[in-house]
Amino acid sequence: MTLHILGASPSDRTTFESCRDTLMDGDTLLLIEDGVYWALPQHRPELARLPARVKLLKADREARGVELEALAEVDDSGFVELCLENERSVSWF
């Protein structure tokens, strides 16, 4: 299993698509930095179609004023936990 860490905003479609195209069942996608804007209502349908579990990084989401609503988030220690739960991480930016 792989932890994918996406830091690019939804305006960077190519980065999102490259990340999306490498996701496998059981992988986790962690949205950090401008990646948390994927949680805006406009982009949620696309997130919902991903095969991976999606989590947001709390501090980055709160800083940017994005509502969590039905999504899951982790704090910085949860970020570390996700790294441990997965065998490797891949950063997309």
Binding site: T2, T14, S18, D21
Partner: protein
């Protein structure tokens, strides 16, 4: 001790130092006798366009170094069907010729490596 290392570069050759920095990482991995895969995604496939002449912009041409990777036991440069399609390129018109991963192969490619370094 040995670990399989995947280096994913996503940048075109001259817009930043990314292409050269990825190459340097790959060469360092090879020098330290680790199995290294280099995956050129998205704009990074443009590093393989033949006929690059970069002397007028005072930049080193990373394409020449890519061709030398087999000397360092890095036999394959990988790209994806999607990256070729993004720019309307054919693999057989590129130099050095890449090994092309289809969608299913790309999906499984990351899990074949223990460490993934992106830039």
């Amino acid at each position: 001790m040995s670990k399989s290392i995947l280096i994913i570069c996503r940048s075109a050759p001259y817009s930043s130092s990314s292409a050269r920095d990825a190459l340097d990482m790959a060469l360092a991995g090879a020098v330290f006798e680790q199995p290294v895969s280099l995956l050129l995604l998205d704009d990074a496939v443009l590093q393989l366009l033949p006929g690059q002449r970069s002397s007028a912009i005072q930049a080193k041409n990373p394409n020449a170094m890519l061709g030398a990777l087999p000397m360092y036991d890095i036999e394959h440069i990988y790209t994806s069907l999607g990256s070729l399609a993004l720019h309307g390129l054919q693999a057989d018109s590129l130099e050095p010729a890449p090994t092309v991963l289809d969608a299913e192969e790309l999906r499984h490619f990351i899990a074949r490596h223990e460490v993934v370094l992106t830039l």
